[in-house]
């Protein structure tokens, strides 16, 4: 079953984005093919400023590949990507400037101290010299890293390293955040902390918070954090809809997930 792609004209929990708005993230006909298989196939979606979207899918569905393409790390085989209207090919620097990215494993230098590392990332992300100290202090405070700011990252626990990864993604205050499985491998308490953190980020302060795209295979996480879900299965878009709509009529996200995956198994059998 193939759902119609989400369109902002459709009402979404009362606060529909304006149709004229430039999408924060727009993917058009995205494909990534390797010699022997295809990781992502003809994927299109648009995410509007301020939305928190969950990218869902079974393991190996192409979530990480999709995120790597959106952040400009992997070039797609086909299709185009625009971040706030900047094409990731034609304007890679401007596009990347607007995306904070937490990869699958936090991209940290084990020998560096937390503070020095964040200052380094802030420099690469063009935070002006005079506000760099402040930006680093803010990211440290938001991610609860005050106690370890002078510790070498390699000596930190996995949960703290994940927080450093998150702090790195937000240090330059980008309008778009791409978080690849921000809670994977953490204990339940840490998971809760990271979730609180992401919710806090999305709400922002006085201004509208960043647009967030986060991938996970934990369905409860999506229900807790996101307004909208994009479900991909074996590289293809399977569902793109507001959570409220998906779970209307008492259906849980799990039912929908199982339904889409099951139908694929049947499709495979029918081939």
């Amino acid at each position: 079953m193939r759902h119609a792609p989400y369109h902002p004209a459709r009402p979404m929990d009362g606060s529909a984005p304006e149709a004229s708005e430039v999408p924060a993230v727009e993917a058009r006909g995205l494909s990534k093919r390797y010699a022997d298989h295809s990781a992502v196939e003809d994927l299109s979606f648009a995410i509007y400023p301020g939305e928190v979207v969950g990218l869902l899918g079974p393991n190996g569905a192409g979530k990480t590949t999709t995120m790597r393409m959106l952040t400009g790390y992997l070039p797609p085989t086909e299709g185009s990507i625009a971040i706030a209207g900047f094409d990731i090919f034609e304007d890679p620097i401007e596009a990347r400037r607007r995306v904070g990215y937490l990869p699958e494993s936090p991209p940290v230098y084990p020998e560096m101290r937390v503070e020095g590392y964040l200052r380094f990332v802030a420099t690469l992300r063009d935070v002006p010299r005079r506000s760099r100290r402040e930006a680093v202090a803010k990211a440290i405070a938001r991610c609860g890293l005050e106690a370890v700011r002078r510790r070498a990252i390699g000596s930190l626990s996995r949960g703290f390293r994940q927080r450093v990864g998150l702090a790195q993604a937000i240090v330059a205050d980008p309008p778009v955040l791409v978080l690849d499985e921000p809670t994977v491998g953490l204990d339940p308490l840490q998971v809760r902390e990271i979730r609180t953190l992401v919710t806090g980020l999305a709400k922002g302060g006085a201004t509208r918070g960043p647009t967030v795209l986060l991938s996970t295979h934990i369905l409860r996480e999506v229900e807790a954090l996101c307004q909208r879900v994009i479900l991909i299965d074996r590289g293809r878009l399977a569902l793109d809809a507001p959570i409220a709509e998906v779970t209307a009529g008492g259906r849980s996200l799990e039912d929908v997930f199982a339904e889409v995956t099951a139908s694929d198994v049947e499709a495979e059998r029918g081939r």
Binding site: V99, Y101, L124, R125
Partner: protein, 265 residues
């Protein structure tokens, strides 16, 4: 280009946190001391021998530059062959092994900036190594009177060679995520570059190059050895200077291309 300094600074700090940099520096200093001492003892023995046999013409021809410093610089050049790959192997390979490559390639910096930043860090380290070597001729100036020009030309040659080797090592490091592979690839590349004049001579006597010496001449020009030896002897030629600018530039461009292309695989 404004990120180059930040990248180079981070790399240098990380180098000095790792034991590799200290091991290389320690071995380098030790070998520099050893080779200087052995060349100096050799020189003294020559002086004594020539005095005993009363060969005053030869004694007058003997001098600190040609008979002590040139062989000393030559020995350190051979050590560079092993020391530079040890330093350069991690420059890009460790970013891949660490998964921090994903950070660098998704921040608003260009690949040229990454390559230049890494190169500058390696070049700064190599310069420190050459500065350690410069200490020993300095000693000679305290106790004797070697020629300034010749000494500086030799040091300049050693420095130029070390900067070229860093570029080769950086390219090797861009090819793999494995530090050992990067080390041996750069060592292999540097060795092959040394072998070029040998190849030219073999070819010149064989049928392949029998018609013209042009190919042999080109091979010889491409080798670092010829250029370094001329500078060690005190000749500074624009052709050699051009070589030591073009040579690293070519390998930096190769490194840049290699990073660029690895993303498409």
């Amino acid at each position: 280009m404004r990120h180059v300094g930040a990248l180079a600074g981070r790399e240098l700090r990380s180098l000095f946190v790792s034991p590799v940099a200290w091991v290389v520096l320690a071995l380098w200093s030790l070998l520099a001391g050893f080779f200087f001492l052995s060349q100096w003892m050799q020189f003294e023995a020559d002086v004594l021998r020539l005095q005993q046999v009363g060969a005053f013409v030869e004694l007058r021809a003997l001098n600190l530059n040609d008979d002590l410093l040139v062989p000393f610089f030559g020995a350190m050049w051979v050590v560079l062959l092993f020391a530079i790959p040890g330093i350069s192997m991690g420059l890009l390979a460790s970013e891949k092994a660490n998964r921090t490559e994903e950070l660098l390639l998704t921040t608003p910096i260009s690949i040229s900036e990454i390559v230049l930043g890494k190169y500058l860090a390696g070049a700064a380290f190599a310069s420190a190594m050459v500065a350690i070597v410069a200490f020993y001729p300095g000693l000679l100036f305290v106790y004797g009177d070697p020629e300034w020009g010749k000494t500086l030309s030799g040091l300049l040659g050693l420095w130029a060679v070390s900067l070229s080797y860093v570029a080769v090592g950086l390219f090797a490091s861009s090819l793999t995520r494995n530090l050992l592979v990067a080390f041996f690839v750069s060592l292999g590349l540097l060795m092959s570059l040394l072998m070029l004049p040998l190849l030219a001579e073999l070819g010149a006597s064989g049928p392949a190059f029998s018609s013209g010496d042009a190919a042999a001449e080109i091979l010889r020009w491409l080798s670092t050895a010829e250029h370094f030896e001329r500078m060690a002897m005190g000749w500074i030629d624009t052709s050699d200077l051009f070589y030591f600018v073009a040579f690293p530039a070519v390998f930096l461009i190769l490194a840049r291309t290699s990073i660029e292309s690895s993303r498409w695989r």
